[in-house]
Protein backbone atom coordinates (compact mmCIF):
# COMPACT_ATOMS: atom_id res chain seq x y z
CA UNK A 1 0.00 0.00 0.00
CA UNK A 2 1.22 3.48 -0.82
CA UNK A 3 0.19 6.50 1.14
CA UNK A 4 1.14 9.90 -0.13
CA UNK A 5 3.49 11.75 2.22
CA UNK A 6 1.58 14.92 1.62
CA UNK A 7 -1.17 16.14 -0.58
CA UNK A 8 0.08 18.98 -2.73
CA UNK A 9 -1.09 22.32 -1.47
CA UNK A 10 -3.08 24.41 -3.93
CA UNK A 11 -1.42 27.10 -6.03
CA UNK A 12 1.90 25.32 -5.89
CA UNK A 13 2.63 26.65 -2.41
CA UNK A 14 4.38 24.27 -0.08
CA UNK A 15 3.44 23.04 3.33
CA UNK A 16 6.00 22.10 5.93
CA UNK A 17 6.10 18.42 5.12
CA UNK A 18 6.02 18.19 1.36
CA UNK A 19 9.20 18.38 -0.58
CA UNK A 20 7.33 17.31 -3.70
CA UNK A 21 7.39 19.84 -6.48
CA UNK A 22 5.15 19.59 -9.51
CA UNK A 23 6.97 20.86 -12.57
CA UNK A 24 5.36 21.24 -15.99
CA UNK A 25 7.34 20.98 -19.23
CA UNK A 26 5.78 22.80 -22.13
CA UNK A 27 6.72 24.39 -25.46
CA UNK A 28 6.03 23.89 -29.17
CA UNK A 29 5.79 20.52 -30.86
CA UNK A 30 9.27 19.15 -31.50
CA UNK A 31 11.02 21.15 -28.75
CA UNK A 32 11.75 17.93 -26.87
CA UNK A 33 9.42 17.83 -23.88
CA UNK A 34 8.99 14.05 -23.97
CA UNK A 35 12.71 13.55 -24.65
CA UNK A 36 13.67 15.78 -21.71
CA UNK A 37 11.44 13.89 -19.28
CA UNK A 38 12.70 10.54 -20.54
CA UNK A 39 16.29 11.78 -20.23
CA UNK A 40 16.00 12.66 -16.57
CA UNK A 41 13.28 10.37 -15.26
CA UNK A 42 14.22 7.71 -12.71
CA UNK A 43 12.50 4.56 -13.86
CA UNK A 44 10.31 4.43 -16.90
CA UNK A 45 8.48 7.60 -17.92
CA UNK A 46 4.81 7.46 -18.83
CA UNK A 47 4.08 8.71 -22.33
CA UNK A 48 1.00 9.14 -24.49
CA UNK A 49 2.57 9.64 -27.90
CA UNK A 50 0.90 8.63 -31.15
CA UNK A 51 1.94 8.77 -34.83
CA UNK A 52 1.66 12.24 -36.38
CA UNK A 53 -1.05 12.57 -39.05
CA UNK A 54 0.05 13.22 -42.60
CA UNK A 55 -1.70 16.61 -42.48
CA UNK A 56 0.27 17.97 -39.56
CA UNK A 57 3.37 19.97 -40.53
CA UNK A 58 6.17 17.75 -39.31
CA UNK A 59 9.12 19.11 -37.39
CA UNK A 60 12.43 17.56 -38.40
CA UNK A 61 12.31 13.79 -38.56
CA UNK A 62 9.70 13.57 -35.82
CA UNK A 63 7.12 10.82 -36.27
CA UNK A 64 5.39 10.71 -32.88
CA UNK A 65 3.66 13.41 -30.86
CA UNK A 66 2.30 13.62 -27.30
CA UNK A 67 -1.48 14.01 -27.16
CA UNK A 68 -2.17 13.41 -23.47
CA UNK A 69 0.69 13.90 -21.07
CA UNK A 70 4.16 12.68 -20.12
CA UNK A 71 4.98 11.83 -16.55
CA UNK A 72 8.19 11.07 -14.74
CA UNK A 73 9.86 11.63 -11.40
CA UNK A 74 13.35 12.61 -10.34
CA UNK A 75 15.25 13.70 -7.25
CA UNK A 76 17.24 16.91 -7.06
CA UNK A 77 19.71 17.48 -4.23
CA UNK A 78 18.24 14.43 -2.46
CA UNK A 79 15.57 16.36 -0.62
CA UNK A 80 13.38 17.44 -3.51
CA UNK A 81 11.16 15.02 -5.38
CA UNK A 82 10.19 16.50 -8.71
CA UNK A 83 7.00 15.30 -10.37
CA UNK A 84 7.50 16.09 -14.02
CA UNK A 85 4.50 16.58 -16.31
CA UNK A 86 4.92 17.14 -20.05
CA UNK A 87 2.13 18.78 -22.05
CA UNK A 88 1.22 18.34 -25.70
CA UNK A 89 2.62 21.26 -27.72
CA UNK A 90 -0.13 21.95 -30.22
CA UNK A 91 -2.64 24.71 -29.55
CA UNK A 92 -5.56 22.31 -30.01
CA UNK A 93 -4.53 20.57 -26.79
CA UNK A 94 -4.70 23.78 -24.78
CA UNK A 95 -7.26 22.19 -22.46
CA UNK A 96 -4.48 19.84 -21.32
CA UNK A 97 -2.28 22.85 -20.51
CA UNK A 98 -4.86 24.03 -17.97
CA UNK A 99 -5.36 20.55 -16.54
CA UNK A 100 -1.62 20.02 -16.10
CA UNK A 101 -0.81 23.60 -15.11
CA UNK A 102 -3.17 23.54 -12.12
CA UNK A 103 -1.21 23.34 -8.88
CA UNK A 104 2.18 23.40 -10.59
CA UNK A 105 5.12 24.78 -8.64
CA UNK A 106 7.28 25.56 -11.63
CA UNK A 107 7.26 25.74 -15.40
CA UNK A 108 9.94 24.78 -17.92
CA UNK A 109 9.38 26.16 -21.41
CA UNK A 110 11.47 24.44 -24.06
CA UNK A 111 12.21 26.29 -27.29
CA UNK A 112 13.46 24.96 -30.61
CA UNK A 113 15.72 27.56 -32.20
CA UNK A 114 15.32 25.98 -35.65
CA UNK A 115 11.62 26.92 -35.74
CA UNK A 116 10.39 30.31 -36.97
CA UNK A 117 10.04 32.97 -34.24
CA UNK A 118 11.06 30.77 -31.30
CA UNK A 119 10.99 33.74 -28.87
CA UNK A 120 7.41 34.51 -29.83
CA UNK A 121 6.55 30.87 -29.18
CA UNK A 122 8.20 30.98 -25.74
CA UNK A 123 6.24 34.10 -24.89
CA UNK A 124 3.01 32.37 -25.95
CA UNK A 125 3.61 29.46 -23.55
CA UNK A 126 4.79 31.69 -20.69
CA UNK A 127 1.58 33.73 -21.01
CA UNK A 128 -0.63 30.65 -21.32
CA UNK A 129 0.68 29.30 -17.99
CA UNK A 130 0.86 32.65 -16.17
CA UNK A 131 -2.48 31.99 -14.49
CA UNK A 132 -1.07 28.82 -12.88
CA UNK A 133 2.58 29.56 -12.22
CA UNK A 134 4.15 32.86 -11.10
CA UNK A 135 6.75 34.23 -13.52
CA UNK A 136 9.46 33.92 -10.82
CA UNK A 137 9.13 30.12 -11.09
CA UNK A 138 9.51 29.84 -14.85
CA UNK A 139 12.65 28.89 -16.77
CA UNK A 140 13.31 28.67 -20.50
CA UNK A 141 15.54 26.07 -22.15
CA UNK A 142 16.63 26.78 -25.72
CA UNK A 143 17.54 23.83 -27.92
CA UNK A 144 19.33 23.52 -31.29
CA UNK A 145 21.42 26.66 -30.65
CA UNK A 146 24.47 24.84 -32.02
CA UNK A 147 22.92 24.57 -35.49
CA UNK A 148 20.78 27.74 -35.28
CA UNK A 149 22.73 30.46 -33.47
CA UNK A 150 20.06 33.16 -33.75
CA UNK A 151 18.21 34.33 -31.85
CA UNK A 152 20.87 34.25 -29.15
CA UNK A 153 20.22 33.68 -25.46
CA UNK A 154 20.68 37.42 -24.95
CA UNK A 155 18.07 38.13 -27.61
CA UNK A 156 15.63 35.86 -25.73
CA UNK A 157 16.36 37.65 -22.42
CA UNK A 158 16.01 41.11 -23.94
CA UNK A 159 12.75 40.41 -25.74
CA UNK A 160 11.18 38.63 -22.77
CA UNK A 161 12.38 41.29 -20.31
CA UNK A 162 10.80 43.96 -22.51
CA UNK A 163 7.50 42.17 -21.89
CA UNK A 164 8.12 42.09 -18.16
CA UNK A 165 8.99 38.38 -18.27
CA UNK A 166 12.23 38.22 -16.27
CA UNK A 167 12.97 34.50 -16.53
CA UNK A 168 16.26 32.62 -16.69
CA UNK A 169 17.07 31.43 -20.23
CA UNK A 170 19.54 28.55 -20.64
CA UNK A 171 20.92 26.61 -23.55
CA UNK A 172 19.84 22.97 -23.34
CA UNK A 173 20.26 19.71 -25.20
CA UNK A 174 17.18 17.82 -24.06
CA UNK A 175 18.82 14.48 -24.81
CA UNK A 176 21.42 15.14 -22.09
CA UNK A 177 20.12 14.51 -18.59
CA UNK A 178 22.77 16.88 -17.15
CA UNK A 179 21.31 19.74 -19.20
CA UNK A 180 17.75 18.99 -18.14
CA UNK A 181 18.92 18.62 -14.54
CA UNK A 182 20.48 22.08 -14.71
CA UNK A 183 17.15 23.61 -15.78
CA UNK A 184 15.43 21.88 -12.87
CA UNK A 185 18.18 22.95 -10.45
CA UNK A 186 17.47 26.55 -11.34
CA UNK A 187 13.81 25.99 -10.45
CA UNK A 188 14.72 24.19 -7.24
CA UNK A 189 17.07 26.97 -6.15
CA UNK A 190 14.16 29.37 -6.61
CA UNK A 191 12.10 27.01 -4.45
CA UNK A 192 14.74 27.02 -1.76
CA UNK A 193 14.86 30.79 -1.64
CA UNK A 194 11.09 30.91 -1.23
CA UNK A 195 11.16 28.12 1.33
CA UNK A 196 13.72 30.00 3.42
CA UNK A 197 11.61 33.14 3.19
CA UNK A 198 8.55 31.24 4.40
CA UNK A 199 10.45 29.92 7.42
CA UNK A 200 11.54 33.37 8.51
Amino acid sequence: MVISSAVSAPNGAFDNVSRDLKVVFTGPMGAGKTTAIRAICEGEALSTDVPISAAEAKVGGKTMTTVGLDYGECHIEDQWVLKLFGTPGQERFRFMWDILGAGAFGLVVLADNSQPDPVGEVERYLSAFAKHVPVRRMVVGVGRLDSHATPSIDAYCDRLAALGLHVPVLEVDVRRSADVRLLLSVLVSMAEVEYEQQLH
Binding site: L46, S47, P51, S53, A54, T65, V67, R92
Partner: protein
Amino acid sequence: MNSNSIDAASHVSSSLRLVTIARLADILADLQRSAPGVVSATLASADGLTVASTLTNSQDADKLSAMSGSLSALAGAMTREAGHAAPERLILESDSGHIVSMNVPVPTGDLVLTVITNQSSLLGKLLWSCRSTADQVIAACTHQQASAMASSVSFS
Protein backbone atom coordinates in the same frame (compact mmCIF):
# COMPACT_ATOMS: atom_id res chain seq x y z
CA MET B 1 -24.40 18.05 -43.42
CA ASN B 2 -21.94 16.50 -45.81
CA SER B 3 -20.48 19.82 -46.86
CA ASN B 4 -19.98 20.77 -43.21
CA SER B 5 -18.25 17.54 -42.35
CA ILE B 6 -15.89 17.83 -45.28
CA ASP B 7 -15.28 21.44 -44.38
CA ALA B 8 -14.37 20.40 -40.85
CA ALA B 9 -12.06 17.84 -42.39
CA SER B 10 -10.19 20.32 -44.56
CA HIS B 11 -6.96 19.78 -42.61
CA VAL B 12 -7.34 16.06 -42.35
CA SER B 13 -4.80 13.38 -42.99
CA SER B 14 -3.98 13.52 -46.68
CA SER B 15 -3.71 9.75 -46.63
CA LEU B 16 -7.51 9.55 -46.56
CA ARG B 17 -9.04 10.59 -49.87
CA LEU B 18 -11.85 13.12 -50.03
CA VAL B 19 -14.19 10.49 -51.45
CA THR B 20 -13.45 8.26 -48.45
CA ILE B 21 -13.98 11.14 -46.04
CA ALA B 22 -17.35 11.87 -47.67
CA ARG B 23 -18.26 8.20 -47.21
CA LEU B 24 -17.21 8.41 -43.53
CA ALA B 25 -19.43 11.49 -43.07
CA ASP B 26 -22.36 9.46 -44.46
CA ILE B 27 -21.61 6.61 -42.06
CA LEU B 28 -21.64 9.04 -39.10
CA ALA B 29 -24.90 10.59 -40.31
CA ASP B 30 -26.43 7.09 -40.50
CA LEU B 31 -25.43 6.45 -36.90
CA GLN B 32 -26.99 9.71 -35.76
CA ARG B 33 -30.23 8.86 -37.60
CA SER B 34 -30.50 5.24 -36.51
CA ALA B 35 -29.36 5.21 -32.88
CA PRO B 36 -31.72 6.89 -30.39
CA GLY B 37 -30.39 9.89 -28.50
CA VAL B 38 -27.23 10.47 -30.55
CA VAL B 39 -26.42 14.18 -30.49
CA SER B 40 -23.20 14.04 -32.47
CA ALA B 41 -20.66 11.60 -33.91
CA THR B 42 -17.10 12.59 -34.69
CA LEU B 43 -14.14 10.75 -36.19
CA ALA B 44 -10.67 12.00 -35.32
CA SER B 45 -7.13 10.87 -36.03
CA ALA B 46 -5.24 9.43 -33.06
CA ASP B 47 -3.34 12.72 -32.78
CA GLY B 48 -6.57 14.65 -32.42
CA LEU B 49 -7.38 16.10 -35.85
CA THR B 50 -10.95 16.01 -37.17
CA VAL B 51 -11.58 13.54 -39.99
CA ALA B 52 -15.36 13.90 -40.20
CA SER B 53 -18.16 14.99 -37.88
CA THR B 54 -21.91 15.45 -37.79
CA LEU B 55 -21.30 18.67 -35.85
CA THR B 56 -22.01 21.69 -38.04
CA ASN B 57 -19.57 23.93 -36.21
CA SER B 58 -16.07 22.89 -37.22
CA GLN B 59 -14.55 24.55 -34.12
CA ASP B 60 -16.70 22.33 -31.89
CA ALA B 61 -15.65 19.29 -33.90
CA ASP B 62 -11.97 20.21 -33.68
CA LYS B 63 -12.11 20.72 -29.91
CA LEU B 64 -13.86 17.39 -29.45
CA SER B 65 -11.34 15.67 -31.74
CA ALA B 66 -8.36 16.94 -29.75
CA MET B 67 -9.97 15.78 -26.49
CA SER B 68 -10.81 12.39 -28.04
CA GLY B 69 -7.16 11.97 -29.00
CA SER B 70 -5.99 12.81 -25.48
CA LEU B 71 -8.53 10.58 -23.74
CA SER B 72 -7.84 7.67 -26.04
CA ALA B 73 -4.07 7.95 -25.47
CA LEU B 74 -4.55 8.28 -21.70
CA ALA B 75 -6.85 5.24 -21.64
CA GLY B 76 -4.18 3.32 -23.57
CA ALA B 77 -1.47 4.41 -21.12
CA MET B 78 -3.64 3.32 -18.20
CA THR B 79 -4.41 -0.15 -19.54
CA ARG B 80 -0.71 -0.57 -20.45
CA GLU B 81 0.23 0.37 -16.90
CA ALA B 82 -2.27 -2.17 -15.55
CA GLY B 83 -0.88 -4.84 -17.85
CA HIS B 84 -4.14 -4.99 -19.80
CA ALA B 85 -4.64 -5.18 -23.55
CA ALA B 86 -5.37 -2.00 -25.54
CA PRO B 87 -8.75 -0.55 -24.53
CA GLU B 88 -11.55 -1.04 -26.99
CA ARG B 89 -13.66 1.88 -25.83
CA LEU B 90 -14.17 4.48 -23.16
CA ILE B 91 -17.64 5.14 -21.72
CA LEU B 92 -18.48 8.33 -19.85
CA GLU B 93 -21.83 8.35 -18.07
CA SER B 94 -23.51 11.40 -16.60
CA ASP B 95 -27.03 12.59 -15.82
CA SER B 96 -27.10 14.24 -19.24
CA GLY B 97 -26.30 11.17 -21.30
CA HIS B 98 -23.42 9.07 -22.53
CA ILE B 99 -20.16 9.72 -24.33
CA VAL B 100 -18.59 6.72 -26.01
CA SER B 101 -15.11 6.88 -27.50
CA MET B 102 -13.85 3.93 -29.54
CA ASN B 103 -10.53 3.13 -31.13
CA VAL B 104 -10.97 2.34 -34.82
CA PRO B 105 -7.85 0.79 -36.35
CA VAL B 106 -7.68 1.50 -40.09
CA PRO B 107 -4.80 0.95 -42.57
CA THR B 108 -3.81 4.66 -42.59
CA GLY B 109 -3.46 4.75 -38.78
CA ASP B 110 -5.79 4.61 -35.79
CA LEU B 111 -8.92 6.74 -35.69
CA VAL B 112 -11.09 7.57 -32.69
CA LEU B 113 -14.89 7.55 -32.97
CA THR B 114 -16.59 9.72 -30.36
CA VAL B 115 -20.36 9.67 -29.95
CA ILE B 116 -22.27 12.02 -27.65
CA THR B 117 -25.85 11.22 -26.63
CA ASN B 118 -28.62 12.68 -24.49
CA GLN B 119 -30.54 10.86 -21.71
CA SER B 120 -32.74 9.01 -24.18
CA SER B 121 -29.93 6.72 -25.36
CA LEU B 122 -29.76 3.13 -24.19
CA LEU B 123 -26.20 2.10 -23.47
CA GLY B 124 -26.46 -1.43 -24.86
CA LYS B 125 -28.03 -0.29 -28.10
CA LEU B 126 -25.57 2.59 -28.32
CA LEU B 127 -22.52 0.33 -27.93
CA TRP B 128 -23.88 -2.03 -30.56
CA SER B 129 -24.44 0.87 -32.98
CA CYS B 130 -20.95 2.27 -32.31
CA ARG B 131 -19.40 -1.14 -32.99
CA SER B 132 -21.29 -1.44 -36.25
CA THR B 133 -20.29 2.13 -37.25
CA ALA B 134 -16.64 1.36 -36.45
CA ASP B 135 -16.83 -1.73 -38.67
CA GLN B 136 -18.25 0.36 -41.52
CA VAL B 137 -15.46 2.92 -41.07
CA ILE B 138 -12.84 0.17 -41.20
CA ALA B 139 -14.48 -1.24 -44.34
CA ALA B 140 -14.53 2.18 -46.06
CA CYS B 141 -10.87 2.89 -45.27
CA THR B 142 -9.77 -0.61 -46.22
CA HIS B 143 -11.66 -0.28 -49.49
CA GLN B 144 -9.72 2.93 -50.24
CA GLN B 145 -6.47 1.13 -49.50
CA ALA B 146 -7.40 -1.81 -51.72
CA SER B 147 -8.45 0.38 -54.66
CA ALA B 148 -5.30 2.49 -54.28
CA MET B 149 -3.18 -0.63 -54.48
CA ALA B 150 -5.12 -1.90 -57.48
CA SER B 151 -4.61 1.38 -59.36
CA SER B 152 -0.90 1.49 -58.53
CA VAL B 153 -0.57 -2.04 -59.92
CA SER B 154 -2.36 -1.07 -63.13
CA PHE B 155 -0.02 1.90 -63.61
CA SER B 156 3.17 -0.07 -63.14
